[in-house]
Symmetry: C2
Subunit: 192 residues, 2 copies
DNA sequence: GTCTATACTGTGATAGAC
DNA sequence: GTCTATCACAGTATAGAC
């Protein structure tokens, strides 16, 4: 793998673990096995490298979510598939995490991919819910946009609860609680 | 106000804004209008001062939540009151925020108040939901613990979405989406 | 109690040799 | 392209004067 690739991947890991503020160029270089000069040859500085890493992570997250949401099954089943997909819960969300980073939120360029990714996810989930309503798989009264926001928030908030508790259990509760509520709005009442 | 008090309040503000990793003793001293020696006289170092600040913030958050949850009204109304209470949404949660701080999560002493506060909140909300079920204000099938976790997650996740978007709108959607789902489980169907 | 001086390490970046 | 040397500055803490 090229040095630039290794630098990007190391940055992805460190941003996930420690955030932007908590990640130093030195730490990135050490993890990538690259020298200082090498890093500053490929990237103009920390923000530039972080941007490349954030974009890469955003792409990957989008692909993972799309795989769940475009799977076969009813709308409820696809939402359930997204909510119950395997996750390393205690690591949290590599994109959502960045919203707590003051330097990321303050810089429109760095915040860009974060905003786009979470917007896309809400929009995509809203499509699935709307489809479900059209097909009669969900109650007509279910509001797609709001429901989609609740689904994404359950995941993001679940990570917060799990990390506070030092255990994935509260994440599972939060997700299952929402799934219980959604199942009650799916006319055929599938098992949650 | 005493110097120690000013140091604690400055630390509360900075932890909320920039997190533990992003907050330096120097920045705290400047905001508090205190010298270095003064800070190290009252506190043994950054972790000690941060602990005092986190404990203070945790107390305050608990008091605010308890005020909503012990208000008069049905269980649904009290949960709604908690969810719709005024918030500075873009600032996020001063306690939930800390779960993304690697140095806080790694230190059991600093994580302690964070864990206790969010555990207490879930437990307290579960009591309210359980009471509602007993009184017939909620469907008997509603699981108190799971529902409580979903409520807290909606708020914490709502903050993430709002900060990503640079707007409180997605927070409101997530909260309202959950409220819609909960209203459908309250036999008298109050307006959400 | 509060201040200034000091020390040491880490951060983020540049310069120039190879 | 990659390396090492160097830099200015911030982070964290201690020492000792007042």
């Amino acid at each position: 793998m090229s040095t630039a690739e290794r630098l990007i991947e190391s940055t992805q890991d460190l941003l996930w673990e420690r955030g932007y503020v908590g990640t130093s160029p030195k730490a990135i270089q050490q993890r990538a096995g690259a020298g200082q000069g090498s890093m500053y040859h490929h990237f103009s500085g920390k923000p530039d490298l972080a941007l490349a890493a954030i974009r890469r992570t955003a792409e990957q997250m989008r692909a993972t979510a799309e795989a769940c949401l475009s799977a076969p099954g009813t709308a409820y089943e696809r939402v359930r598939g997204y909510l119950l997909r395997e996750r390393d819960v205690l690591r949290g969300c590599p994109i959502g995490r960045l919203t707590m980073d003051p330097d990321v939120i303050a810089d429109p360029v760095l915040r860009g991919p974060v905003e786009e990714t979470l917007d896309w996810l809400r929009g995509r989930l809203a499509e699935v819910v709307a489809e479900g309503v059209e097909r009669g798989e969900f109650d007509a009264g279910l509001a797609p946009e709001r429901t989609a926001a609740s689904v994404v928030a359950a995941v993001q908030g679940g990570y917060v609860l799990a990390r506070a508790a030092g255990s994935p259990a509260p994440f599972d509760s939060a997700v299952q609680g929402l799934l219980d509520l959604l199942a009650a709005r799916a006319p055929h009442r599938p098992a949650p």
